[in-house]
């Protein structure tokens, strides 16, 4: 990367950036180029737009005629019972298989309500999709309740109440973050970064939540809401048993959490926001 890159090489890096396939060295180089060449952002946007056009290239596939009326009926049913817990439609045939029941349903759950949007659980001999409420104590690690939830909520609230502000250090660019963290090693690519247009990055902080070490990035949304985004390292045996790609929790005071993980880290976003908005932020951080 020491020699200047040709325009074609820069274009390919931009494509790789949009496709998310840059190595960490290429990412560093490309972020440098983005600073040097403002026009490159236009190229990135154009490539993102191109990628977003992909579905229009699919063959015309018309769903069965009955689907339209099925959707309208489901919508009508929801309108007519607005106070009921919203349950996604049952699949017309059991299409998912889960190997075990990660949490036991509780009808008396108080406090946090865990909404498992897409989780599909095997209940008895039936497979069903459900969105229901769980007690946080039923989010488990090796059968024991996962204590990290309480730690996450406490950390988020304490950061908001900190008279010195919610962050340990202020940054203007994400690539400054790894060097400002004390002890915790990470790469820029692994950070829980929210696209600029969705939230202003205020800064970051080291975190120690129980045994979990990591960081918290703090964002301010256009609506002035403050969002904490966590990246935590846990020993494999400490990971809570997430059977859905995203798990969302909503506390009665309005604080919500969305959790997800990859091979290396547990991620979470915490804010005083409805579940749907938090999920949108989580998807944006994941870049999907």
């Amino acid at each position: 990367m020491s020699e200047p890159l040709s325009p074609q090489e820069i274009r390919e890096l931009a494509a790789g950036y949009v496709l998310g396939d840059l190595t960490s060295a290429e990412t560093e180089a490309f972020q440098g180029l983005l600073h040097e060449l403002p026009a490159l952002k236009v190229e990135v946007t154009a490539l993102q737009e191109t990628l977003a056009m992909m579905p229009y290239g699919l063959d015309d596939v018309e769903p069965e005629g009955g689907l339209r009326s099925q959707i309208l009926s489901a919508a009508k049913a929801e309108f007519s019972s607005p106070t009921s817990v919203s349950l996604p439609p049952q699949p017309s045939t059991p299409t998912f298989k889960r190997s075990r029941l990660p949490w036991i349903m509780s009808t008396t759950a108080a406090g946090l309500a865990l909404v498992c949007g897409l989780a599909t659980l095997r209940l008895g001999n039936q497979v069903r999709t459900l969105q229901a409420q769980y007690s946080p104590s039923e989010l488990t690690v090796a059968g024991d309740p996962w204590s990290g939830l309480r730690n996450l909520l406490q950390d988020h609230h304490q950061s908001l109440q900190n008279p010195d502000g919610p962050v340990d250090f202020v940054v203007s660019q994400p690539d400054e973050i790894p060097d400002l963290l004390q002890g915790f090693q990470t790469t820029v690519a692994a950070l829980p970064l929210l696209p600029d247009h969705q939230g202003k990055l205020l800064g970051g902080s080291n975190c120690q939540l129980g045994d979990a070490e990591g960081l918290r990035l703090t964002y301010q949304l256009e609506t002035d809401q403050t969002v904490s985004a966590y990246q935590l390292v846990l020993a494999e045996e400490e990971f809570p048993e997430l059977q859905s790609a995203h798990l969302s929790l909503q506390q009665p005071d309005g604080t919500g959490i969305v959790l997800w993980r990859d091979e290396n880290y547990l991620y979470a976003v915490v804010a005083e926001l409805p579940t749907a908005e938090l999920q949108t932020l989580a998807y944006a951080i994941e870049g999907i």
């Binding site: 015309d60 018309e62 339209r68 999907i288």
Partner: protein, 186 residues
């Protein structure tokens, strides 16, 4: 009501007018279902997800017209839910290839929003035919199924660098062709 904007229809839907949902389904049901069946491959699952997407549009009220077109919102949402389901089904939790930017707003103010869905379909299909078969395959596996390029390399039995090269050049080629076709259209 034939020319009623998507934004107006969504507003009516949120006020409880189910007829608006019917019109929105007529406009975008095929597009949503197409993405769902491409990734999930099973009719029952694709129908289930299509229903979930439209009910989600009604329930969550997270669509913001000023941030992008409804088509873009629905395609992005559908794609991410497809990948979410594929990941949830996976026996081994696999790291999803990162997509660095949300695509929910990329067409907020571009010429592409002023052409019809049929015109978009026509030019994207034509542009895709100019890609090499491998370029298209890699882009599709990555886009619709969220497969990492490492997984794609294993699946196709080629080096990772080759997959990256196919994907990057495929995307650049697609962009170039779309630009040319858009010029022809205007």
């Amino acid at each position: 009501m034939e020319h009623e904007t998507d934004g107006s229809l969504v507003a009516r839907l949120w006020e409880g007018e189910l007829s608006a949902l019917g019109i929105l389904y007529d406009r975008y049901g095929s597009l949503v279902y197409g993405i769902a069946i491409k990734g999930l491959r099973r009719v029952a699952e694709a129908e289930d997800l299509t229903q979930e997407i439209f009910l989600s549009l009604m329930r969550t009220r997270s669509y913001q017209p000023h941030r992008g077109s409804l088509a873009s919102y629905l395609t992005t949402l559908t794609r991410s839910r497809v990948i979410d389901r594929l990941r949830a089904q996976s026996t081994q939790y696999k790291y999803l290839n990162q997509w660095h930017q949300s695509q929910t707003v990329v067409d907020a103010d571009t010429p592409m929003q002023h052409i019809t869905q049929q015109e978009k379909r026509a030019i994207v299909r034509e542009a895709l035919t100019t890609l090499k078969a491998q370029q298209r395959e890699v882009l599709e596996l990555s886009y619709y199924e969220g497969q990492s390029q490492r997984d794609i390399a294993e699946r196709l039995g080629v080096p990772l660098g080759t997959v990256k090269s196919w994907a990057r050049r495929g995307l650049l080629q697609l962009r170039k062709q779309l630009d040319l076709l858009k010029e022809d259209l205007s």
